[in-house]
Amino acid sequence: MKYDDIIYLLPLISVGTGAVVLMLLSPIKSFNISKLSWVTLFFLILSFIANALNFGKVYSVAPFAHLFSSMFVIDTFSGYFTSIILAGGIVTVLVGTHYFDKSDMLRGEIFSLLLFSVFGMILLVETKELFSSFIALEIASISIYILVGFQKNYTRRVEGSFRYLILGSMASIMFLLGIVLIYAGAKSTNIIEISSYLALHKSQDMTLVITGGMLILITFLFKIAAFPFQNWSMDVYDGAPLPITAFMASTFKVAIFGFILRFILVDFHELKNIWSDILFYVAILTMLYGSFLAVFQTSLKRMLAASSIVHTGYLLIAFVSINSIGESAATSIIFYLIAYFLSSMGAFGMLSYIASDDHLRVTYEDFRGFSHIRPYMAAMMSIFMLSLAGIPSTIGFIGKFYIFVGAIESGYTLLAVIGILATFISVYYYFKLIALMYFYPSSEMTNVPPLKGIPPLIIAVMAVLIIWGGVGNTLISYFPGIDFLIDTAKFAYQSLFIG
C-alpha cells in the first residue's frame, strides 16, 4: 500500500473533517454564524490549496487502488472540477454569511450540511464506478434537500424541499434500477469494464444494458433539469434561500456535469449513439422551453432559474457534438461551465446580498432605478446579465462561441441555429433588468445594504474575472488569459485517457 497517495485524498479528507467538526461545533452557543463561517472557510481553503498542489500537470492516479478497488480516480479532470466546486463553496460562504446572519431560522448546521454536499460533489467527479457515484450523488443531494427546506417556518421553503426530495428520490430510484440492469448485463459497475463489454457485444444481445443506460440518462436529465424533467427546478430554486439557490444553480450543476462528462467520454459504443440521438432533441426542447419559461417570469429568482434551464440546453449541444469532436466539445463544455459558474454565481450572489436585509421576493420591479442608488452594484449586475446573454467582451460570449463552433464543426448546424435563437430570446429577459436599473428614476428601495464588506468584494472579483475572461489575451504576459483556461481544460480532458 502506497501511503503517499494520501496527498491526492487531502482535499476530500479536509472537507470531510470540516463537515464533522462543524457538526460538533454547531450546538455550542458561543459559536455564532460568523465564527462558524470562518471555520468553514478554513477547511474549504485548506482543501482548495491541497487540490491546487497538483495543478498544471496531466496526471491520473487511483489512490489506494486495492482498498477502494479502483472505484475512485484522481486526475487533472477531477482536480479541475474540484477546484470549481470548492470555489463555489467558498464564494457561497463568503457571500451568503451576510444572508445567513440576518435570517433567524438559519443555524450553524447549515455550514456542516454545505460541507457535506461539497464532499459529495468532489466524490462525484472522482468516481468512475456506478455504485460509488450513486452514493456520492446522494450525499450531495440529501444535504441539499435539507438546505433548501432549512427555514421550516416558510411554507415555500418546505414545499420546495419536499418536492425536490420526492422527485429527486424518484430519479435516484431510476438510477439504482439502471445500475442493477447494467450489472445484470455487463457483470460490472465499473464504467471502463462496461465499455469493454459493450464493445464486444452486438446491440440485440444487450437489451438490459441499454435499458439501464436509458434509465441512467433519465437521472442525468433530471439532475441537470433538462426537458422534460425541468419543472422541479423552478420551484426548488425559487423556494430555497438565495445563497443556497446560488450554490445549487452553479456549483451542484457543475459537479453533475463533471460526472456526466466523465461518464459520456468513456466510449459506450452503441449506447452512446442512442444517447446522442435523444440528447439532440432534448437539447432543442430544453433551450426552447427554458426560454419560454424565462420570458414570462416577474421574479428575478425564477427568471434566473428558468435561464439556468436554457444554459443546460446550450451545454447539451456540446454533449451532442461530443461524438464526432471529442476533445474540442469536452473542452467547450468545461469552459462553458466556468463561464456559467462565474455569471450565475455572481448574479445569484448579488441577489442574495441585496435581499438579505428584507427577505422580499426580488422581482424585476424591485430593481427599478437601482443604478441611482447603488451605481457600482448595478454595473456588476449588468456585467452578469451581459455575460449570461453572451454579449462580446464577457466570458459568456467566448463560452457560447466554443459551443456553437463545436456544433457547426460536428455537423449540427441546426442546434447552433436554435442555440442562437435562444440567445436572441434571452437578450430580452436579461436586458429588461438592465433597462429597469438604468432607465427609470429611483424608487424607494430603502433596505439595500451598502457597498462594503466582503460579499460585494467577492462579487466584484467575479465581475472582473468575467470581463477578463472575455477580453483577456496574451498581450499581458505572465497573466493567464483565455488561452490558459482552454489549455487547462484540455489537460483535464487528456488526463481521462491516461493510466
Partner: protein
Amino acid sequence: MDIGLLSFIIFLPLVVSFILLILPVDMKVTRNIAFATTVVVFLLSLSIFFQFRLTDYMQFREFHPWITSYGIYYSLGVDGFSMIILMLITTLIPLGYLFLWKTKKAKGYWASMLLIQTGVTGALLSLDLVLFYFFWESMLLPVFMIIGIYGTGNRIFSTLKITIYTIMGSLFMLVSILYLGVAFYNEFGVWSFQLSDLVQITILSNLQRTLLFFGFMIAFAIKIPIFPFHTWLMQTYSNSPTGGVFILSAIMAKLGIYGIVRFVLPLFPHQYVEFAPYFVGLGVFGLIYFGIAALMQQNIKRMFAYSSASHLAFITAGIFSLNAYGMTGAAFLIVAHAMATGGLFLLVGNLEYYLGIRTISGLGGIAKKAPLLTVAFALMLLCIVGLPGTNGFVSELLIILGLFQYNHYVGVISALTVLVAASFMFWLFQRAILVKTDNDISELKDLDKKEIFGIFGLGAVIIAMGIYPHWFLYKIEPTIQHYLLDILKVGVAS
C-alpha cells in the same frame, strides 16, 4: 508588448471613459476631457492619413494572438476605404461634441459617447471576423444606454427595440462567421477567422454560400437600414438624444455599408453579383419610399430620419451597381452624407434644445432670429441635395452615372427621385426656417462660438471636398480598383 497607432486610436476613448466614470469628476470636466480625447484621436488619425501609402494593401497592420486555439487574432489594418471612413469618424465626432457642448446631461452621456467611438473605430479597423463581431456588438451597449437614459418620449421601448433588432441581425452574422471558420478548418486543417484566410475557402456549395451571404446581409441591412428592415429607425431617431441620432445616422449606418463592402463582397463575390439586381431594386425602391415618407412628416427630426434613410438606400444601390462610378460614388456619398446629415441632426438638436419638440408648422421665422444657424442649415441642405460645389454633388452624380451604366431605367428613376428630393428639402427649408409666422420662437438663440466653429468647420470640409475632391480621395482609388477587380473576376468567370 507594443501598442500600435491603430490600437491607440481604438482604445484611448475606452480607457479615458473608464477613468472618467470611476473618478469623482463633474460633468463639465468629463465633457472637456472627452473632447480633448477626441481631438487627440483626430490628430492621430490625421497622422495616419499623411503616412498612408498609395497601395491597395492593408497598412498599419497589428497582429497579436488572442485566442490561439481557435486561430483568433487581434488583427488590425487600414486600407483606403476604411481610412477615409476613419477620417470621417474622427473628424465628425469632435465637431459634433462642440454642438453637444451645452447639453445638461450627466457625465454618463459623455462616457457613453467615448465608448461608442471605441466600438465604431474597432469594428472599422478589425480584419479578424470574430474581432469585428466583438466590436460590432460592443458598440451597441453604449447606444442602448445613451438612448435609454438620455432619450425622450417612449425611450425605453425604442432602445429595447433597436437593441433586440440589431442583436438579432448580429446573431445571424455570428452563425455565418462560425460556419465560415469551420469551413476553413475543414479545408485547410487549421483554425482561422482572418478575412484574408476565409476568402480562400472553396469547399462551400452555392446554397451554403447564399445562406451565409444573407446571414451577413441581414446584420448589415438592419444597421443601414435597407427596406424592409427599417422599422426601428423612426422611433429610435425621434426618441434618442441629439448625440445618439448624430452617431446613429452619421456613423453607424455608414458602418453597415462599410461591412458590406469590406466583408460581404470579398467573401461572397458570386452571390454579390447574383443578388445585386435585387439590392439595386431595393435601394431605388427605398430611395422613393423613404422619400415619400419624409414628405409626409410633420416633425422635422422624423423628416430628416426618413430622408437620411432615403439617401442610405441610394448608397446601397450605388455599391451594388457593380461598376466604378457607382462604387466610387457610394464611397464619396458615405462621407458627404455623413457630414451633411450629422450636421443637420446637430442643428435640429439645437432647435429642439431651445424650442422643444415642434412640428414643422410650429417653426418659421428662424432666419431673422438666428441668421448664422440659417446659413449653416442651408449649407447642409445644399450638400444633401447635391448642389455643385459641395461634395454631395460629386457623389450623387457618380452614383447616378453608375446606375445609368447598370440599367437605363434605374438610372432615370433614381435621377428623377433625387431631383424631387431636392425640391422637398427646399420646401422644408422655406416652411421651417424662412417663412414668417406668429409662432413664438423668442427662446431661440443663434449659434455660439463653439458651434460656429463646429458647423462651419464641417462646411469648409464639405466645400473643399466638392471643389477639389481629388486631394481627399486619391488615396482610396487603389482600394476601390481592388474591389472592382473582385467583381470583374466574377464577371469573367460567369
